[in-house]
Amino acid sequence: MNAGSRRLGDVAKTLKSANAGASRLTFDMFFDSVADLRAAVDALRPEVVAALYGVDAAAVEVFPLEHILALKLTIPRASSQGSIDERDFDGVQQHVHLLEVLV
């Protein structure tokens, strides 16, 4: 299969988001192979993630964990957990933009 033709939502076995404390959002992904994991790391460059979520690229942290075929991304929350303008208290639906990223 060509690089850049598969949806991350199809490639990743698990793709989820959650709060990491009150001021950060973290995305956890698991893959079937090191090749898939590395392809995902290539696709999820900080500037790509930054554009999807409207954050500063310097604020995007990327942690590949090859020993468990996992990838973790961390970005700032839109606002502090439970603020008046809260939309997703536990941060569990924020992963959706990543589903469509091409790997």
Binding site: G21, A22, T26, F30, A70, K72, P76, I84, R87
Partner: protein, 454 residues
């Protein structure tokens, strides 16, 4: 030397009684369970309420308490009452005393407070010892004054002290989760890297297993150069992935978990499948911090909330929904002014379900208009009375707003409920989400211990 620690997930979330009995048969040296989290948000800290129901808490607490006394090993319950302030801790102290009286149990209970007085924060702020914890604004004196309740997250030290003083049951206010379990291992002479990582591995109970909802309790056995983790129910498994993933969970950096006094470093840790159900971990390290820091959590009152829920189905209104909301907001503002209410006294937020309620400004551009919108008009005002005043006006204003130009029907809002305005009560925000550098004397003063022999 072998040390066994038995862990349930969260008090009030339930656990397998059969699994717990199986865990007791393994001869644990201590039993522990977390009872709270900041995950519940600033509301429960600010309001002083427990997110769990007393009946659920009592069920879990009683089984663990009776089991621990039968086994003759310490029971440590961390972050009592959800947010771990004094009012929350007292709920657990009272319940433990009640269970002891009813069951005729006699033991020494230690309760460790984690609530902090504002003067302590003001002093630390003046002395430059307070730093932001992640991407949050710097703390100010005004924000400390606005804070209704603040807790510090204790580390292992107060629990070590309580256990050394012969406490059979230790109830703590806000605490970092591994510090519920690590003290028993540290007291037995286990080196910090192993003690902390083993504790971190079980502090979410069943999350270490293939079945997070049924996997509690879990047992960790620390011996030699590592530790082995296993679920107590034989129908559940621990795998390298479930165990190694734990340092990822709700943590910004998957290899390093920052704790008071140091960092659990799993960069060089190795995880092996010991058998079908057990995982062996070696190579964990604990790097002591240059300065001891305590994480602080505080909540401030933001106002009082009222909600209005309405459905919008007319495609002509939905097609012009941005205009609709702008006009709506302006009209609300005019009406509020006519009632003598200043804009600084209230906020109105719209959540448009079916459109961008979940992602807000982070929603993807260019999506087609939905066929219906679930609109929540969220009013937060400085008093309960004012919140109601505004909220009872926003319904008629929005429903009668003519955005189409004379072609509107009887109203824009399809209300599912009567009354249409729902009072929610106080709203709190995280006003303190910072770390404070402390010396040993201040650390001890921040987490005072009270002993009672029941």
């Amino acid at each position: 030397m072998t040390v066994k620690l038995l862990a349930n997930t969260v008090v009030g979330l339930g656990f397998s009684r059969r699994g717990f009995e199986a865990g007791l048969e393994r001869g644990p040296d201590m039993i522990g369970c977390d009872a709270g989290s900041s995950d519940f948000g600033p509301y429960y800290l600010g309001a002083g309420l427990n997110p769990k129901s007393p009946r659920s808490v009592r069920r879990d607490l009683e089984i663990m308490l009776v089991g621990a006394r039968r086994q003759g090993v310490p029971l440590v319950i961390g972050t009592c009452g959800g947010a771990g302030a004094d009012v929350h801790l007292q709920i657990y102290v009272d319940m433990v005393e009640q269970i002891a009286a009813e069951r005729g149990l006699h033991f020494r209970v230690a309760s460790i407070s984690a609530e902090q007085r504002p003067e302590r924060l003001h002093r630390a702020l003046r002395e430059g010892r307070i730093a932001a914890h992640g991407p949050v604004p710097d703390l100010t004196a005004d924000e400390i004054d606005a804070t209704v309740r603040v807790v510090g997250m204790m580390g292992v030290e107060p629990v070590v002290t309580a256990l050394a003083a012969g406490a059979d049951v230790v109830l703590t206010g806000r605490i970092v989760d591994p510090a519920i379990f690590a003290p028993a291992a540290l007291r037995a002479g286990v080196e910090p890297g192993l003690a902390w990582h083993a504790a971190k591995t079980i502090d979410k109970g069943g999350l270490a297993t293939t079945d997070p909802s049924q996997g509690s309790p879990v047992l960790v056995t620390i011996d030699g150069d590592g530790f082995t983790v296993e679920p107590c129910l034989d129908t559940v498994r621990c795998t390298v992935r479930t165990v190694a993933s734990l340092t990822m969970h709700e943590n910004p950096d998957p290899f390093r978990v920052v704790e008071p006094g140091g960092t659990i470093d799993t960069t060089d840790a190795t995880y092996e499948q010991a058998d079908e159900r057990r995982v062996r971990v070696t190579g964990s390290r604990f790097t002591p911090a240059v300065a001891y820091t305590v994480k602080l959590e505080g909540a401030a009152l933001d106002g009082y909330r009222s909600l209005l829920i309405a459905g919008v189905r007319d495609p002509r209104v939905i097609a012009r929904f941005d205009d609709f909301l702008d006009t709506y907001r302006a009209k609300i503002s005019r009406v509020a002014k006519s009632l003598g209410v200043d804009e600084s006294q209230y906020q109105v937020n719209f959540r448009c379900y079916g459109r961008d309620a979940v992602l807000g400004e982070r929603e993807a551009p260019g999506l087609p208009p939905p066929h219906e919108i679930g609109l929540i008009v969220d009013v937060v005002a400085e008093s309960e009375e004012l919140s109601k005043v505004i909220a009872t006006r926003v319904g008629p204003i929005g429903s009668r707003l003519d955005i189409i130009g004379g072609a509107s029907g009887g109203g824009n809002f399809a209300y599912p409920f009567s009354p249409s305005v729902i009072p929610v009560g106080p709203v709190y925000r995280w006003s303190v989400w910072h770390t404070m550098e402390v010396d040993a004397a201040e650390r001890e003063a921040m987490f005072p211990i009270t002993y009672r022999d029941l």
